[in-house]
Structures are given as structure tokens and as C-alpha cells.
């Protein structure tokens, strides 16, 4: 990895003029990966325009250029099977695409025009605005209870901070947005000081220099100073139940943590996550206790970093770095009759983890897992490039070395101390997506047991544990449960 910038922590609000940065992974592959990053995102949305950063990026990636209509861009990309996608998170916006070396000049010419000479056509704008509104209304609110629950959790925890809205914004704000709003955001935030040019593969020797020269047309402004993200502490356990007509109950719950990549306790918490609930893996502890032994649902996982679209992805997408992260448990949809029990079971397991810690055997195995699994995370050049850009952002060495070295030095005591320090089983924000919200509320706040019925015999130790679980007090008071009709979410 070559990083052409001093490793200053970009997290600091650097004042003064800063140049564009580059991250390159030159190689022999005929595939050339582009990740063109702007260190700006939804946290820079004006208060009355949530979704502006997202819509601006979507317009650049999904609209025409000064000289080409959108249809002409699509036609040019079509025979070379290429595209330019955009991803906007709170702190970072990335434009990504891959081309075969055969088609590099044609592809780059399109990318350059799309990002540096956008067409800003009204009909493109209307189409992209509609798409964004529909992705909120139908894609998220209508068709994906799990992602909906996760995003409501983030929105609830970060209310009042610059992360306080979903990156795609709200429907009413999007409806009011104008093309001039987008142009203004572009002018202000698409600057050389916010730019990281990421490039991997067998591109020609002079290609990067040409790119730098081209992107030097962006204004050379100061980096925008950004406010610290300080979410309000969760002072007692509380719940939001998003009510909708759905078959089953999806949960996400958690709380902010003061640990991110680069912080001393990050490797310890990453190990904890890999033990408790590695994403979409059957070896995780929660998966074993909830799905494997009890057959309650499809899977149960834990996170210490933001991980959108987890139902479609096996590995986390790069380039969504955040200076503030949460600890989160994701319980996949549960049959309504088992819903109250399952949440209690997840709390029970979290309690147990904090109280008992990880065993020496689990610690050693998870250590070995992580030291090898990082290679899987960066198995493509495109992913490696994404991780390298994130490492620049967090001010850490390349991700694989950072993890391998950090994990190698860890002791069991450090991990269990980090668990006790950063995790807790009270003062938790719960989000459920469910039909019959009032009924679920009564089951969660009540002191009466909420037992589970199985379709098969279970071992005696599990049944004995269930007796403890079914009456576990979640610490939820009726006044701390808010029921929100789905039509109001992200409206």
C-alpha cells in the first residue's frame, strides 16, 4: 500500500490548506479498481436538509455529464460492463468502479466527466430523488424489517448529534430539495482537501499523475472543521417498537461505545465481537445459543462498527468509517410467540458475557480465527484498497498488519477487562419491528414470565436455563417504550 500523505489523523479537525491524498495498490492485475473518496457525508447535511450529501453523490453517479446525457453515459459503460456507484455514509462518500485495462481510457474519461463536469439536469434530478424516496419508503420501511430496525436504532441513539439522521435523509426533506441545494453542497464539500484518490491494479505508470492533475480542478479549500459526535448517554433501558403489518419480530439493540479503530481497546472488542456474534457465521456464541440449540430464528450477531446491508453482505463494506460507534446485537426475525423470550435470552447472554468473560479456550480459538480471517476480508484488491483508505482515515497502519499485531499482543485478561469496561446489560436502547406493538410492549415490560414453546424436546440444562431467561427483568418501564407507526419513520 502506498499512502501519499503524511499519516496525520484525519479525524482531527485539521485547519489550514490541505492537498488531495492518494492511496494506491499498484499490481499486475488487468482489473483497475477506483475508489474516489470525499471525506464528507451525511453529517455535513444542513439541519433542514437531511439526505443532501447522499442525493448529491447519487446525482453524480446516476446522472449525465455536461456533454453526455445519462443515457449516453449508460450506453458508453454498457459494452465494457462498467459502472460508477456511490456510497454515502456519515463521514465519507465514495465513488467506486472497476474496469478492465482494455477499457481504462474510455472508462476514466466517463468517470472524470461524471465527477468533475456533472450535467445537473432537472430530469435526472427528479428520477434520482424519486429513487431515493422510494428506497426509504419501500426498500427500507416496506420490505426490510431488519435494516429498518438497525437504522432506527442508530437514529435514536444519535438524536441531537450530526449523526442524528439516516444518511439517505427523510422523505419530507428530500421532497423539498432542489438542484441548487445539490450544486451548493458540491461546491462547498467536493474540494481537494476532502479528496482521496484510491487506485489499485495494473494501471499505467503515469496514470495517477494524470488523475491528480485532472482532479486539481476541484477547489483547494480548507478542510471543513467537524464537530465531535457526543451521543446522549442512555441512562436507562428503553425501547422503540416500530409497528407494521409483518409476520415476525426483528430486533436490534445496543448503546454507543467510546472505541473505534485505532483506539487501544479496539482489538480486544473486535475479539469479543468475533466470539459473541461474528457476522453471518454459525460459530458465534449468540448464534449457537439462540439458533443452533433452540432453533428460534435464522441468526444472531454482534457488532462494534457500523455494518449496513448485512442481510445481503457476508463481509462489511469498506469506506464507512465513523468517529463514534455503537455496540449492537442483531436478532433476526422471530415468530411473535417467541419474541419476548428471545430478547430476554439475548440480554441473558450479554449479562453472562460481562459477568463470566470469555474462556481461555474460546479466547485462543478466536485469536487464531481473527489473525487468519483478516486475509478473507481483504481477498480482493478492491476490498484491500477500501481498507487502506479507511486506515488512512483512522490513522492506523494497513488493516491486516494492524489487526494481526493487535491480536497477537492481546491477553485474555485484557479482553475480559475491555468487556467489563465497555459493555453492559443495562441502559440499552432496544428497537423492535413488529405487528401488535402494544401486545409486545406488555410482554417486555411485564414482570410475568414469557416462556417459549418448543416443537421438540430440549436438554434439561437448556430447559433449566429457560426458566431463568423467561422471567429476566429487562429493566424496561412502560413509560420508556415508544410505539411508532412505520409510516412516521424517516418521514
Amino acid at each position: 500500500m502506498k499512502i501519499h500523505t503524511p499519516l496525520v489523523g484525519l479525524l482531527l479537525a485539521v485547519t489550514g490548506f490541505a492537498q488531495m491524498k492518494t492511496v494506491t495498490l499498484p499490481g499486475k492485475s488487468p482489473l483497475i479498481n477506483f475508489r474516489i473518496v470525499l471525506t464528507t457525508g451525511a453529517m455535513m447535511d444542513p439541519a433542514d436538509k437531511p439526505g443532501l450529501a447522499h442525493l448529491t453523490a447519487a446525482m453524480l453517479a446516476g446522472g449525465g455529464t455536461k456533454d453526455l446525457t445519462y443515457k449516453q453515459v449508460v450506453d458508453a459503460m454498457f459494452p465494457i460492463a462498467a459502472s460508477l456507484g456511490s456510497q454515502t455514509d456519515q463521514e465519507m462518500t465514495v465513488f467506486g468502479g472497476t474496469t478492465h485495462l482494455d477499457n481504462l481510457p474510455a472508462y476514466y474519461k466517463l468517470v472524470r466527466s461524471m465527477l468533475l463536469e456533472p450535467g445537473w439536469r432537472e430530469d435526472d434530478f427528479q428520477r434520482i430523488k424519486d429513487d431515493t424516496i422510494n428506497s426509504l419508503r419501500v426498500g427500507l420501511r416496506g420490505n426490510n424489517d431488519e435494516e429498518l430496525g438497525k437504522e432506527v436504532l442508530y437514529q435514536t441513539l444519535y438524536r441531537g448529534t450530526a449523526y442524528g439522521h439516516y444518511s439517505s435523509g427523510t422523505i419530507s426533506a428530500l421532497q423539498k430539495m432542489t438542484l441548487d441545494d445539490l450544486k451548493q453542497f458540491y461546491k462547498q464539500h467536493y474540494t481537494q482537501s476532502n479528496l482521496i484518490l484510491g487506485l489499485a491494479g495494473g494501471y499505467p505508470a503515469n496514470f495517477l499523475e494524470q488523475m491528480k492533475k485532472d482532479f486539481a480542478v476541484l477547489p483547494a479549500k480548507d478542510e471543513t472543521p467537524v464537530a465531535a459526535i457526543r451521543p446522549e448517554p442512555v441512562d436507562h433501558t428503553r425501547a422503540v417498537i416500530v409497528e407494521k403489518n409483518t409476520r415476525s419480530v426483528a430486533y436490534s439493540f445496543g448503546f454507543p461505545i467510546d472505541v473505534k479503530r485505532g483506539d487501544p481497546d479496539y482489538p480486544a472488542l473486535l475479539l469479543m465481537q468475533s466470539y459473541l456474534g461474528p457476522h453471518r457465521m454459525s460459530g458465534g456464541h449468540l448464534f449457537q445459543r439462540i439458533r443452533e440449540i433452540r432453533g428460534i430464528n435464522y441468526g444472531d450477531y454482534a457488532y462494534i462498527e457500523y455494518f449496513p446491508r448485512g442481510m445481503n453482505l457476508m463481509e462489511p463494506p469498506p469506506n464507512i468509517p465513523r468517529r463514534s460507534q455503537i455496540f449492537q446485537i442483531w436478532i433476526r426475525p422471530v415468530e411473535p410467540q417467541a419474541a419476548a423470550f428471545t430478547l430476554r435470552l439475548a440480554f441473558f447472554e450479554l449479562n453472562k458475557l460481562i459477568k463470566d468473560g470469555i474462556s481461555a479456550g474460546d479466547f485462543n480459538r478466536t485469536k487464531e480465527f481473527l489473525s487468519k480471517y483478516v486475509n478473507v476480508l481483504t481477498k480482493t484488491k478492491n476490498a484491500e484498497l477500501g481498507y487502506a483508505i479507511d486506515s488512512l482515515y483512522y490513522g492506523i497502519p494497513d488493516y491486516n498488519s494492524y489487526i494481526k499485531n493487535g491480536i497477537a499482543k492481546l491477553t485474555l485478561e485484557q479482553v475480559n477487562a475491555a468487556i467489563r469496561k465497555h459493555l453492559r446489560a443495562d441502559r440499552i436502547q432496544i428497537v423492535a419491528v413488529s405487528a401488535n406493538a402494544e401486545q409486545l410492549k406488555q410482554q417486555l415490560v411485564g414482570s410475568g414470565p414469557t416462556p417459549i414453546q418448543y416443537n421438540s424436546a430440549k436438554p434439561a440444562d437448556i430447559l433449566a436455563e429457560d426458566k431463568l431467561v423467561e422471567k429476566l427483568d429487562l429493566g424496561l418501564r412502560p413509560a420508556d417504550v415508544q410505539i411508532v407507526p412505520v409510516a412516521q419513520v424517516f418521514e
Partner: protein
């Protein structure tokens, strides 16, 4: 990885041909058959230290021939993680963890595939453990019932998506006899009845989890000789089976069919227009022609996409596909419409577009662009050991060999506008057509 055009290298006796023709699949590979019928495909790639294994069983929802047993191939995908005497689930997971492995499985119409990506030094341990579960899987009725709960959980997590329902109703409406009538998840009533089907599950395993149904694809930082020796050692003793399913043949459809779904929640209207198409073929041009037609008529650079999505903005997604299946399956166009009042208009536009392709040959330059796109899209996807093994697994389910990839792309390169027109005329007829629409409880949308 450095790609170049290569020749096939076959090292085993079952297939002896060595071809010097230009290849779309850019890797040299070995393909070998064990005497028990198991096939091994090994593909060294430039993926330092990483190996991906796909164990492909040529059994999917297509094989679920008995009434009330839909969803069993998929259920079996779950049962395969329930352990053996030698590797109970806990030990199985520990071996995967020690290998830093990413591991999962999936089921489709024609296959069930089990995949693992890991560090190369763990190849013997992983191959030994996989061999064990394919040969000696063991689970109690209680464990079986518990796992059916996880399968119902999977049905539940899918059930909030109206497109899943649309697919379920489309296949149920379009097919009468063939097992493509049901989706891979199966009918809900069959999923709910799974807990009482323990004995049938044993029968299912006995029938299909056999070497003659199975191909192991290994890609990455490997030496084929070493892989072969390990596969001989751990998989060589697996006993061949004798079961041959009697897959019902779908009779020709007699007349257009329609169906409608009232979705209980607000969502955007959907329309799916489908026709019975041919089975996958690497020898006849018809399948490739219909696949190309789907791209030419309905992809992002098509005239209709420009009209409905870009200019009129009545539709927000439009796509078409020819199912890549062992038996004849559906060619479909699907659109998501912003307003239910536009459903009849969009339906008419799609049908008119199909008619236009039946009446006029496509321009040669457009066909060339579609051919170029398909070839680049395929080869650009082969950027790591896992994606290489995954791409091969998909074709292994159809023809049990990567050589079908080059045969298919060779057919593609020979496609003419007349081929496209002829396939459209033959298959996309009214008698052969099923249309399913879906509308939400209260209409929403961005307009």
C-alpha cells in the same frame, strides 16, 4: 492475478480433449473423476495464501418430486451443519474458527453448494472435515425439529419482501407439474410441516448426498496434485448411490395465465411477465439468444428503459432474465411501477417491446455491445479465489464441468440478429405467457 488466454489442461482420463481454442474462462484447471463418481475440479489462481472450496451437490428444489416435500433440499443445506459422531457441531465450528474461515451454503433450483474460504495451510483439515459430514452426517429427531425452526425463521425474514412473494406466485401459476412450480424455500405449509418429516429427511440424504451427484471445486493457492491426494484419502471411500429422480415434465402451456397479489402493507406495484423458455444449453443457440434478448430489450441501455425509467419516470426498476436451469424454466421481465394506475400502460409497453423484437431483427452493433458486456462482466467478476470457485460452481450444477463456460461463450459469439428474432418468436408467445401483478395496501411512491 494476471490473466491470459489459456488452454485447458485435463490431467485425468475421463475427459481427454485438449483444446487450443481461445477461452473465456481464463484459468487453467484440472478435472478428475474418482472411481466412486465424485468429480474434482482444481483451479490454481493467484490468491496468495487463500483457498476456496465449493462442494456442489446437483440437487436443488428441482429434486423435490413428492407432494408436501417442497423446501427439502434447502432444509438439508441446514441439516448438513448438524454434525457427525467425529465432528459434532461444536467441534466443526472450532475447526472453521481455527482456519479463519468464511463458510456458508446456499440452495437453488438445481444445486446445493457448501463453500469455505480459508488459509491454505488448513486445506487438509477442511477437506477431511467436509468429507466426514458428507459421508456420516447424523442427527436426532429433536435436532431435526430444532433446525426446522431456523428454516421457518429464514422464511420469516424473507417474508417482508414482496418480490419473494411475487416469485413464489409466478412459479406456482406458470407451472403445473414440474418442480420449478415451487421456490427453493418451498411452500409455507410444507415448511410448517417439516418438523414431522424426520424419516423423509433421512431418505433425502440417502438419495442425493452421494458422490455421483457431487463435484468439489477447489480454487486458489493450491497444487492440484496435493488436492487430488487429499480428496482420494478422505473422499475415496464414499459409496455411490443408485437413486434417479423422476422429474415430472412440464406439459406445453395452453393459453395465457394471470394472477394478482394483494400485499397487506404499502409498497410499490410490481408486474412480472414470464414465458416458458428452454433449458440451459451449451450446444443450441436458443438459450443464449433469449438471455441476450433479455439484455437487449430491458437492460439499462435499452430503449424501453430509457422511455419508462429515464424519460417518463413511470417505472423505477426494469429488468429481464432467462433462468439458467437444468430443465426448461422461465424467461421473465419484471418492473416496479411508481403508480398502480400505470400498470396497464407498463404491461402494454413491455408486450409491445417483445413484439418489436419478434418483428424486427436487432441492430448488429447493439448485439455486439451486449456480447461484449456479457464477456467482460463474467471475466471481471473472477477477481479472487472465492468468486472463481463460485462462478464455476454455478456451471458445475448444469454440466458438471467448467468447459461448458467456454462452449456457452462460443455460442454467444456466434449469435446473429436472426437467432434472437427466431427465439423470441418461438418462445415469447401468448399461449406460453403468465403475468402476475402485486399491489400494496395503500399506494406509496415518490411521484
Amino acid at each position: 492475478m494476471l490473466w491470459k488466454l489459456v488452454c485447458l489442461v485435463f490431467t485425468a482420463g475421463s475427459i481427454a480433449a485438449v483444446s487450443a481454442q481461445v477461452k473465456t474462462f481464463p484459468f487453467a484447471y484440472t478435472q478428475q473423476d474418482l472411481s466412486n463418481g465424485l468429480r474434482l475440479v482444481t483451479i490454481p489462481t493467484d490468491s496468495p495464501n487463500l483457498v476456496s472450496i465449493y462442494v456442489v451437490v446437483q440437487t436443488g428444489s428441482r429434486n423435490e418430486v413428492e407432494a408436501g416435500k417442497s423446501g427439502f433440499a434447502h432444509l438439508f443445506e441446514h441439516m448438513m451443519f448438524r454434525g457427525t459422531a467425529k465432528y459434532p457441531p461444536e467441534k466443526y465450528n472450532q475447526v472453521l474458527q481455527r482456519a479463519g474461515a468464511a463458510s456458508n451454503a446456499f440452495t437453488s433450483d438445481d444445486l446445493t453448494a457448501y463453500y469455505t474460504t480459508f488459509s491454505k495451510e488448513d486445506l487438509p483439515a477442511i477437506l477431511a472435515m467436509e468429507a466426514d459430514r458428507f459421508q456420516t452426517l447424523k442427527y436426532t429427531p429433536e435436532i431435526f425439529k430444532t433446525e426446522t425452526g431456523a428454516v421457518l425463521g429464514e422464511y420469516n425474514k424473507n417474508s417482508s419482501d414482496p418480490e419473494e412473494k411475487l416469485d413464489e406466485v409466478l412459479h406456482d401459476t406458470a407451472f403445473d407439474r414440474h418442480t420449478y412450480k415451487h421456490t427453493t424455500m418451498g411452500f409455507l405449509k410444507d415448511v410448517q410441516d417439516m418438523p414431522s418429516q424426520y424419516d423423509y429427511s433421512l431418505k433425502f440424504f440417502d438419495r442425493y448426498y452421494r458422490p455421483e451427484y457431487t463435484t468439489i471445486v477447489v480454487a486458489g493457492d493450491v497444487d492440484p496434485k496435493n488436492v487430488r491426494a487429499l480428496v482420494d484419502q478422505y473422499w475415496g471411500g464414499w459409496k455411490r448411490g443408485s437413486y434417479h429422480p423422476d422429474i415430472p415434465v412440464e406439459p406445453a402451456q395452453q393459453g395465457a395465465r394471470e394472477n394478482h397479489i394483494d400485499w397487506p402493507s404499502p409498497t410499490l406495484p410490481l408486474i412480472d411477465i414470464a414465458f416458458h423458455g428452454p433449458a440451459y444449453s451449451d450446444t443450441s443457440k436458443e438459450w443464449a439468444a433469449l438471455d441476450a434478448l433479455a439484455t437487449l430489450a430491458f437492460s439499462r441501455n435499452s430503449d424501453l428503459y430509457e422511455k419508462l425509467v429515464v424519460l417518463e419516470q413511470k417505472v423505477d426498476t426494469l429488468s429481464a432474465s432467462m433462468a439458467q436451469s437444468v430443465d426448461p424454466n422461465l424467461w421473465e421481465v419484471e418492473a416496479r411501477v411508481k403508480s398502480a394506475s400505470d400498470l396497464p400502460y407498463v404491461r402494454a409497453q413491455i408486450l409491445e417491446t417483445i413484439q418489436r423484437f419478434q418483428n424486427q431483427p436487432v441492430a448488429a452493433d447493439k448485439l455486439d455491445a451486449a456480447k461484449s458486456r456479457r464477456r467482460y462482466a463474467f471475466t471481471m467478476g473472477l477477481d479472487n479465489s472465492q468468486s472463481v470457485a463460485a462462478a464455476v460452481a454455478r456451471y458445475v450444477a448444469l454440466r458438471r464441468s467448467p468447459d461448458t463456460i467456454d462452449k456457452l461463450y462460443s455460442l454467444y459469439s456466434q449469435l446473429t440478429p436472426a437467432d434472437i428474432q427466431a427465439a423470441a418468436r418461438k418462445y415469447l408467445t401468448e399461449n406460453n405467457r403468465t403475468i402476475v401483478t402485486l399491489t400494496g395496501a395503500a399506494e406509496g411512491g415518490g411521484k
